[in-house]
């Protein structure tokens, strides 16, 4: 049968038309993962039972595969009468899975702030809330920008998992073409190359951002 480059080229527009779905899923999942991850990390810092439960939840999520989380949500939620679209379930799965990793990013970002900063804030009699908003958060943002960008790339590379739940992302489109034409090689190779190009492009952007932030130095 052989690999038909002309047919591969003809797959490009169909697969590329789903790039919006892929980027949207990745962006929303990254936002969801950051939100849940931040809450996990805050709960862990409070300590006590909430802290221990949160720490265990983070470890549990990180010890289990993302594919199983997607299956879990996809099959368990309807069992309790919660019916959501497969894309929503997919975004929830990715958000939950990556929140375990982003919690560690927040932890490292906060730990890297010198102790003198919150101490100085207290010496100036700032409230706890103001300390977090005006002293901790801005410095944390600079520390987490680059790792957050790297995890965005990881999440982007995990979006094709949603094709397993029949979400029409780029891999899903590739499989649509494959099942219509009985040719698997060409559409899959095209989808793979587009994902590779996208991942390399965003990684490069993150690296440049990291260099600029490092060049900014500490004030």
């Amino acid at each position: 049968m052989g690999f038909d480059p002309a047919f591969a080229l003809s797959c490009v527009p169909t697969i590329l038309s789903a790039i919006g779905t892929t980027l949207l899923v990745a962006a929303v999942s990254c936002f969801g993962a950051a939100t849940i991850g931040f809450l996990f990390e805050m709960a862990r810092r409070i300590g006590g039972i909430a802290g221990m439960a949160s720490g265990f939840a983070i470890d549990f999520i990180r010890s289990t595969p993302v594919l199983i989380w997607l299956y879990f949500l996809y099959f368990v939620l309807p069992f309790y009468g919660i019916r959501l679209g497969s894309m929503t379930v997919g975004i929830m799965g990715l958000s939950l899975y990556y929140s375990g990793y982003l919690a560690e990013v927040f932890k490292a970002g906060i730990d890297a702030i010198p102790k003198g900063q919150p101490e100085a804030a207290r010496a100036l009699s700032l409230s706890r809330r103001d300390t977090v908003i005006y002293v901790i958060a801005p410095q944390m943002m600079r520390n987490i920008a680059a790792p957050l960008g790297n995890y965005f790339v990881s999440i982007l590379k995990a979006t094709p998992y949603l094709a397993v739940l029949a979400v029409p992302d780029m891999l899903g489109r590739a499989f649509d073409i494959a099942s219509e034409t009985y040719r698997y090689a060409e559409p899959l190779v095209v989808a793979g190359l587009i994902f590779l190009a996208l991942a390399l492009l965003i990684s490069y952007g993150v690296k440049r951002l990291e260099r600029r932030l490092l060049a900014g130095g500490t004030r």
Binding site: M1, G2, F3, D59, F60, R62, S63, T64, P65, V66, L67, I68, W69, Y71, F72, F75, V76, F79, E104, K107, A108, V153, K157, A158, T159, P160, Y161, A163, V164, L171, A178, Y184, A185, L188, V189, A191, G192, F195, L196, A199, L200, S203
Partner: protein, 219 residues
């Protein structure tokens, strides 16, 4: 079907999960060492080629790589078993990540180490194998443990290319028994039971080494 039967059914797949992991390590470890060292030693065009190979395996979405190699290789006249394709793709993907730890470990060594070796009249290979690699391997061992965990978790994907691992068994049970909560909880726990002890071992290792600059958090 009782909870016990569900557990037993899923555990039938643990052999496949373990075998794919072990077979995958046969690809991951040599790739990580070979390409990590090569990226450290080479310059110019040679380094560009080494980096391109690493980036291909590291930056591609692993689920797409698996499908591409499973469906596209036969088109090029190469037929490998689902076992070999799975081990190769998952192994080289993990190896790509680990190669960066090898390179970073080598680069992090003070240049005095290499210079002292040269001053003692050791050849370049002798310096690499007797002085640089032993120290770098100790420094990168926690990262390597993380890679093993990522590989174990990635094996859940082989259920999509017909191998009967734990995930495959769980889906089989789900077809005859409508009890998604018990089945998928058991599957999550099965992975947790395998991966969490490895993560704890990695943390212990990291605390023992306590190298400055090593990544915190385990998993």
């Amino acid at each position: 079907m009782s909870l016990f039967d569900i557990w037993l059914g899923i555990l039938k797949g643990v052999g496949t999960t373990a075998a794919v992991t072990a077979y995958g390590l046969l690809f991951a470890v040599p790739f990580a060492l070979g390409f990590g060292v090569a990226q450290y030693l080479t310059v110019g065009v040679a380094r560009l080629l080494v980096t391109a190979v690493i980036e291909f395996w590291r930056s591609s979405a692993v689920i797409i790589l698996l499908f591409v190699f499973y469906y596209a290789l036969p088109v090029f006249g190469i037929s490998l078993s689902a076992w070999t394709v799975s081990a190769m793709v998952l192994g080289l993907n993990a190896g790509g990540y680990a190669s960066q730890a090898v390179r970073a470990g080598l680069q992090a060594l003070p240049s005095g180490q290499k210079e002292a070796g040269a001053a003692l009249g050791l050849s370049r290979p002798a310096i690499l194998f007797l002085i640089e690699l032993p120290q770098a391997l100790v420094a990168m061992s926690p990262t390597f443990v993380n890679t093993v965990i990522q590989l174990v978790k990635a094996t859940a994907l082989v259920s999509l290319v017909t191998l009967s691992d734990m995930t495959f068994r769980a889906k089989e049970i789900a077809q005859v028994e409508y009890n998604p909560v018990a089945i998928y909880t058991a599957l999550l726990l099965a992975f947790f039971v395998v991966c969490y002890p490895i993560a704890l071992a990695g943390r212990w290792l990291e605390a023992r080494i306590a190298a400055p600059g090593s990544r915190a958090g385990g998993i």
